[in-house]
């Protein structure tokens, strides 16, 4: 069978830029290691190189949390300090081995990172910013004041290096090797399932949850990973310089780390290294600035504002942008596989059973004791005038709103109180009225996230995820644009990608929130055909729309809401003739006389 061959080809063409990237990277890192060992260095050059290398590891952490996941961390110097003090105190005070200390240090950083993240990441980003600043301040207080344990403001002296790496050059080579290895991991993280989940959370949290991503866990993971990298960098730093003191890990240093990642570019580990290198070298060239206290940090502060204003993607982002202008479009390859839709299996006759569902906002009963039964197969439409509670119903069904009362059963499973991503696992797929794609990701990546939802039929195998995503894109006739970033797509194409994303997850029930809104007439024809094709594959659809032509053409069954209550339910033709429905839409009672 050619399936494996085609999927392998598909996987390769999804990331053409890696073909030369990996060997080039390995050669570059190896060259840096050899240089570190062979070239004789003055103490000054050694110090600068060591500082840049260990800092860059911590800055890589920010590439993950800020660049990939879009969460802020203003305590990276604190995590760096945890690693440094673990290596320092562990060896000098407790006689532990260097590597054990490094492990403890990164473990501590991970623990505190996870705790901070877990307590804050359910809330908005402002909380995280302030809580990380607070943590940073507390750690500084503890380092200075808990003298019996931390040795206070004097710091820790005479920190040894591990066996075999006691000499400066070999230790530097070790640090470069660690940086190279971690950089490689961070580089490839973006194209893993976790990395895509992080980027999805960054671009649109709500859509990420509905696509089956555990948003909270993804954010906490990103934050803890970032803290670990801070801890490793700090541990190596302590071994390299043999001395640590509280002022090296202050809030000011966290700001320096932040500036480094912003300057270089948050999107790539290369940006992290560029930013770190520049911000360690530039102040050395401008040493005279340090003669006036404050001036140097004042320039950092101004630089942060200017970068955010004028170079939001950093130096590497800017350079990449220039490259991309000349990049040839990659030739599309056909997947050959047709999209398989199971329609949620054959279980019961009823896919969705909603009983007495209510959603109140204060005194407003947006949805009021609505019953809804959706039979397997076919298209079910939920219609009603503006403000009748259709979208609210859909949001309660997909878990974005908590139901005030009532029950929702999907395939016989009670999903009433489950969070959105667990409902997706249970077999719910949806699109949004105002399209919610992850705009900085390609069409293929958007759909891949759908394909790799928990409990998905393709499992965790990357090649079959790619194959399924391509098949889903082919289903909506967009396979030729798979590797393009969706931000540049037309409205109709974005809508199609959103539907493909939901289809790729092989749902038992597809919820479509006004899919026809904003489409022109030819796009509407395409949409109608697409819906008919989906339905022909046995997938059940619940659609909300205002376009009566579309609804009456595709739906076999219609439920009508008005003022949050169900006023009619039945076969399309009957419902559309129902007097209450006509009254609700036209605002007058039909003239029964004559």
């Amino acid at each position: 069978m050619s399936t494996t061959a085609t999927t392998a080809a598909a996987a390769a063409s999804a990331r053409p830029r890696l073909r030369w990237g990996v060997p080039a990277y390995v050669v570059f890192v190896a060259a840096a290691i050899v240089l570190a060992i062979v070239v004789p260095k003055t103490g000054y050059v050694f110090n600068i190189s060591l500082q840049a290398t260990t800092y860059a590891i911590a800055v890589l952490g920010l590439t993950i949390v800020l660049g990939l996941c879009g969460q802020i961390n203003l305590a990276q110097a604190a995590f760096f300090g945890l690693g440094a003090y673990a290596v320092g105190l562990g060896q000098t005070e407790h006689g532990l081995n260097f590597w054990v200390c490094l492990l403890i240090g990164s473990g501590l950083a991970a623990l505190f990172g996870a705790l901070l993240g877990a307590s804050t990441l359910r809330l908005g980003g402002h909380y995280l910013a302030m809580v990380t600043i607070s943590f940073q301040q507390i750690l500084t207080l503890v380092l200075i004041n808990w003298i019996p344990v931390t040795k206070g403001p004097d710091g820790v002296r005479a920190i040894p290096r591990p066996a075999f790496f006691a000499d400066g050059s070999s230790y530097l080579a070790l640090c470069i090797a660690v940086l190279g290895g971690l950089g490689y991991l961070v580089w490839h993280l973006r194209d893993t399932r976790l990395g895509r989940a992080m980027r999805a959370v960054r671009d649109n949290e709500l859509a990420a949850g509905v696509a089956g991503i555990d948003v909270y866990r993804t954010k906490v993971t990103a934050f803890a990973l970032s803290a670990v990298l801070g801890g490793i960098g700090g541990g190596l730093f302590a071994g390299g310089f043999a001395y640590v003191s509280p002022d090296q890990f202050s809030f000011a240093e966290s700001v320096v780390f932040l500036t480094m990642v912003l300057l270089g570019g948050v999107a790539s580990p290369i940006g992290a290294v560029i930013g770190t290198g520049l911000l360690i070298l530039i102040p050395e060239w401008l040493r005279f600035l340090k003669s006036i206290p404050g001036l140097y940090l004042a320039i950092y502060g101004a630089a942060v504002i200017l970068i955010v204003l004028f170079m939001p993607d950093g130096i590497w982002g800017f350079v990449r942008g220039q490259f991309d202008r000349f990049k040839r479009a990659t030739a599309p390859s056909a997947s050959g596989d047709a999209l398989q839709l199971s329609g949620g299996g054959v279980g019961t006759d009823t896919v969705l059973e909603v009983r007495k569902l209510s959603k109140h906002f204060g005194g407003l009963k947006a949805v009021d004791e609505v019953d809804l039964t959706i039979k397997r197969g076919g298209v079910h439409a939920l219609i009603g005038p503006n403000g009748s509670g259709k979208t609210t119903t859909l949001n309660v069904l997909s878990g974005l709103y908590k139901a005030t009362s009532g029950t929702i059963m999907l395939n016989g499973q009670d999903i009433t109180s489950l969070p959105p991503h667990v409902r997706t696992k249970a077999g719910l797929g949806r699109t949004f009225q105002n399209i919610r794609l992850w705009r900085s990701m390609t069409a293929l990546e958007n759909v891949m996230v759908g394909a790799e939802r928990p409990g998905s039929p393709v499992g965790n195998d990357p090649a079959s995820v790619v194959a399924r995503a391509r098949a889903a894109l082919a289903f909506v006739d967009l396979e030729h644009r798979a590797d393009e970033v969706v931000a540049g797509f037309s409205y109709g194409h974005q809508r199609a990608v959103e539907i493909a994303r939901a289809l790729a997850s092989d749902p038992a029930l597809l919820l479509l929130d006004e899919p026809g809104a904003g489409l022109n007439s030819s796009e509407k024809v395409e949409l109608r055909n697409l819906l008919k094709r989906i339905s022909a594959h046995g997938l059940t659809i619940l659609i909300i729309d205002h376009d009566m032509t579309l609804v009456s053409e595709v739906a076999q069954h219609i439920t009508v809401l008005n003022f949050g209550r169900r006023i009619a339910d039945g076969h399309s033709a009957d419902v559309l003739k129902h007097p209450d429905v006509i009254a609700a839409y036209l605002g007058t009672a039909p003239d029964v006389a004559a």
């Binding site: 910013a129 943590f135 507390i138 207080l141 404050g294 004042a298 502060g301 942060v304 979208t391 859909l394």
Partner: protein, 291 residues
């Protein structure tokens, strides 16, 4: 018991300062949906301006106060134009980073110009205070509490009973709708920044005689004020005031009965406790996004 009363008084005094700065946070947050991380620097700068005009230039105290606040109004306007306005259509993250950059810039520019030595600013009154029963009432703390009470009352009246106040409220609730109704949203946001800078400035000048006037005072106050807004309930004006007062009292008692070196840590512990057990704060507010 006497000590407790004394601590309560001091706590409310210092808490009033947190409340004023928290008020500045909340107003800007409501107008722009962004937390201004440079809010504390407004207090620090105002205290330094006060030192310059009152001690160095030798203006009368009240005149120096007015001149310093005019400086703050100007700073608020420039801050809006340089740090917030160009980023108003971006997500909150660039704006947060930009205000953090501004905070570092303001603090360290002050450091570069002035040098690291802290300054001393005398209080408004010549009498340092008096005894009321067992409690010694420091005159500067009394002034802080009185001014905070008056400002809060004035602000309430302003928002509820003036047209400008109502326009500001409309802007903070729904910018799009406000602009459709002909309210100049950009101007309203400008007014908010100017007002927040001034109110932060008043807090800084009031607290200056109690603390030293130092570069780090802004960050320290801002951290507590932010904790106060979370404790009170984010975005809620009453919550910010109650939260600020509560934090001042907790911190003063903590320093007296538990530990002085870790005084600045209590705010953080209370903050974490609230985040875990009651993230919506005392005057809880929903944090939800529309689909």
């Amino acid at each position: 018991m006497d000590l407790a009363l004394q601590l309560l008084f001091t706590g409310i005094g210092i808490g009033s300062v947190y409340a004023l700065v928290a008020l500045g946070f909340v107003l800007i947050f409501r107008a722009t949906n962004v937390v201004n991380f440079a809010q504390g620097e407004f207090s620090m700068l105002a205290a330094f301006l006060m030192v310059v005009f009152s001690v160095k230039v030798g203006l009368p105290y009240w005149l120096a106060f007015i001149v310093a606040l005019m400086g703050m109004a100007l700073l608020g306007a420039v801050f809006n134009l340089a740090v917030y306005y160009p980023l108003r259509h971006r997500t909150y993250l660039p704006v947060i980073i930009s205000t953090i950059g501004a905070s570092i810039f303001l603090a360290n520019t002050t450091l570069a110009i002035h040098g690291p030595e802290p300054e001393v600013l005398s209080g408004w009154f010549d009498t340092p205070g008096f005894l009321l029963g067992p409690v010694y009432l420091d005159s500067q703390y009394l002034l802080i509490i009185a001014v905070t009470a008056i400002l809060v009352a004035l602000q309430y009246w302003f928002f509820e009973h003036t047209l400008l106040g109502k326009k500001l409220q409309a802007t903070s609730q729904d910018k799009e709708m406000a602009s459709l109704l002909g309210i100049p949203v950009a101007t309203m946001i400008m007014v908010t920044f100017v007002y927040s800078a001034v109110i932060g400035g008043i807090a800084g000048i009031l607290v200056a005689p109690v603390l030293f006037v130092s570069i780090g005072m802004g960050a320290a106050i801002a951290l507590k004020a932010f904790a106060a807004t979370i404790i009170g309930g984010f975005g809620d004006v009453t919550g910010a005031i109650i939260g600020g007062l509560a934090l001042g009292v907790i911190e003063t008692f903590g320093a007296a009965y538990i530990s002085v070196p870790y005084k600045d840590g209590f705010a953080f512990l209370v903050l974490i406790a609230f985040l875990i057990f009651r993230p919506q704060g005392i005057f809880g507010e929903r944090v939800a996004e529309k689909a």
